[in-house]
Amino acid sequence: MELFETLSRLTAAHGVSGREEEVRALLAQLAQPYCDEVRTDVMGNLICRRAGEGPRVMLSAHMDTAGLVVSHIQEEGYLRFSSVGGLTARQLRGQSVRFANGITGVVDAATEKGEKEPALSDLYLDIGADSRSEAEKLVSLGDTAAFHVPARQQGERVLSSGLDDRAGCLVLLLVMEALKSAPNDLYFVFTAQSRVGLRGVQTAAYAVDPAWAVVVSATAADDTPQADHRGSCALGRGAGVKVMDGSVICHPRAVELLDRLAEKHEIPVQHEVYKAGRSDAGAVYTTRVGVITGGVSFPVRHLGAPVEIADLNDLRRCVQLLQVFAESELSDL
């Protein structure tokens, strides 16, 4: 699998929370050759199993992105919407968004210029329709749209919409491909509805019932001029070993093991602490009788903006680290 090319395809696929069909189909197709079993659950999670004798181990990344959902169509053909997955009015205003069927539109605010920051309910989406009936031919209530800036590679950096967490999905695919034999019963889970509150992963983790889990996610890079030092990672310094974020404190055993494996295999890593963000790990570790949960993350600049920036070498390090993790002997208690 070619890294940048696959990432381009993944970031181009539509998949706002709850409407992950397109990206799920692509992931299923890419994962199929490396897995014994691929299925979709009620929440829309894609659960891919690589059967093994050892304990159940779940590796996951979320496939949904933030975006907006159409909630009302005005007589004049403008669309009103709700933000899905936490995008703010500031992030959305003036941006172009695209629906799954290719229809694009631009977001603006129905408030006078110079007024204070508009509320989300003041925003509308213009798809160029002149009337409700014309708009209804193009989109329906409940349809979702997202940022759609195509991926570009500049040196070892990639610029694209949706790197959170399609780059994480890519990491899982590359791990599947690279894996030789693993002693564990591996579940690669591409989760749905993560951006709306870690919803999908709850049912996936319950069904898989793993002893160990590692969640692959984006973390806000702390190396920009506006960095507030609530995070700890910088682009290009290697795979992030998650210590904690706003939703989880990782199991000390998971952190120790990932550190030890990185040292043994000479994989550059950096410890991640990012209190302002949440990851699926926060819903995994409390599942059933508890799961020994860790995280592997990659720093992303401008998280949530139409163009995010990540480092391809960081992604390669994530793949290496997860591969040796998946291939190691894991004990339960």
Partner: protein, 348 residues
């Protein structure tokens, strides 16, 4: 059992949420002689089991939490440590505070505070926000970065000591005082006949959402639960409403989080034994593990007993030993005969 010595020993141990093992190990050792079996689970809970021997007896789970609030290092800047909090830290008490950095071996540190003569009068009226605070460990950048990796935890460095006749002051009394009360309850139950199968769950992660209680209860499958936690003790600057004077006994939780019959049974037992108590009326989320325990599996009849504590989430938390003893007595009385008397549904 000496309540003060037990509490002092537990208070001294470091256990910010997620890294409670030193506390968990100590509690398992303390609990071992009082129960049939102790064990730990994936998330590090310290669990004790004591069975009554009656087949089909109801299963009662008692919960208090092991963890305390704390700090995590997010970076090193000119030799000083940048930090974020674990749980609800009160940033007002930080400047000039002594800290223990949980490296191996631990390091001493102090929270940097600019001297008053470098600040304006206006600045001195404001709490310093956490992202501007640093911990000084007396090292230069290179030494500090090598000694303290990102992700290292820290806790308050504070003695546990007697305050006045019967009060105790220290860090992490939330909720080590309640762990102590549960140990005392087990001691009281030693000579009584049990008719429930008892699980004592000393749980992890309470300060960050109750993951230990959720997973521990899932494993223990209780029919009945009582969470034991602290509540606000009354102080001259605080409200009278919703706070409880030290020495006034434990507070019995009342509200949708608590099965009504359990609140009532607690009140009856307190009256019968002439134990002091208060009623804490809570209209929704109690902010305790009771909230998590109640919705475990099929749903669990849940009660809440709270110990009044002053200056919550500071290094100088204060409790009164007579309240601890009253709480343990009340809980032991509540448990005695519970198996035969507990209704099987909310309104039966």
């Amino acid at each position: 059992m000496d309540l003060f010595e037990t509490l002092r020993a537990l208070s001294a141990l470091p256990g910010p949420s997620g890294t409670e093992e030193p506390v968990s190990r100590a509690v398992r050792e303390m609990m071992a002689p009082l129960v049939d079996r102790v064990y730990t689970d994936r998330l590090g809970n310290a669990v004790g089991e004591k069975n009554c021997g009656r087949p089909g007896a109801p299963r009662l789970l008692l919960d208090a939490h092991l963890d305390e609030i704390g700090f995590v290092v997010t970076g090193v800047e000119e030799g000083f440590l940048r930090i974020q909090t674990i749980g609800g830290v009160d940033a007002r008490v930080l400047p000039g505070r002594e800290m223990t950095i949980l490296t191996n071996p631990p390091l001493f540190g102090v929270v940097a505070a600019l001297p008053p003569h470098l600040q304006t009068a206006e600045e001195m009226e404001k709490t310093i926000p956490l992202d501007q605070l640093r911990i000084d460990i007396g090292m230069d950048q290179q030494a500090a970065a090598a000694a303290v990796p990102v992700g290292t935890r820290a806790v308050y460095r504070a003695e546990c000591f007697r305050l006045g006749k019967d009060q105790v002051c220290g860090k992490a009394l939330d909720d080590r005082a309640c762990i102590t009360a549960l140990l005392r309850t087990l001691e009281l139950l030693r000579d009584r006949e049990l008719d429930v199968d008892l699980t004592v769950l000393c749980s992890t992660f309470e300060e960050t959402g109750g993951a230990g209680a959720a997973t521990g209860a899932f494993g223990a499958r209780p029919d009945l639960c009582v969470a034991v936690d602290v509540t606000h003790g009354r102080t001259p600057d605080g409200p009278k409403s919703g706070t409880f004077p030290l020495g006034g006994g434990p507070a019995i939780g009342v509200g949708p989080n608590m099965a009504r019959w359990m609140s009532q049974r607690m009140e009856e037992k307190a009256k019968a034994a002439k134990l002091p108590y208060g009623l804490e009326v809570l209209p929704g989320d109690t902010g305790t593990n009771a909230w998590v325990l109640q919705i475990s599996r099929e749903g669990v009849a849940t009660g809440l007993l709270s110990l009044p504590l002053k200056y919550m989430h500071t290094p100088v938390e204060v409790v009164q030993l007579s309240d601890l003893e009253a709480l343990a007595q009340l809980l032991a009385d509540f448990i005695t005969g519970l198996g035969k008397e507990a209704p099987l549904c909310w309104s039966c």
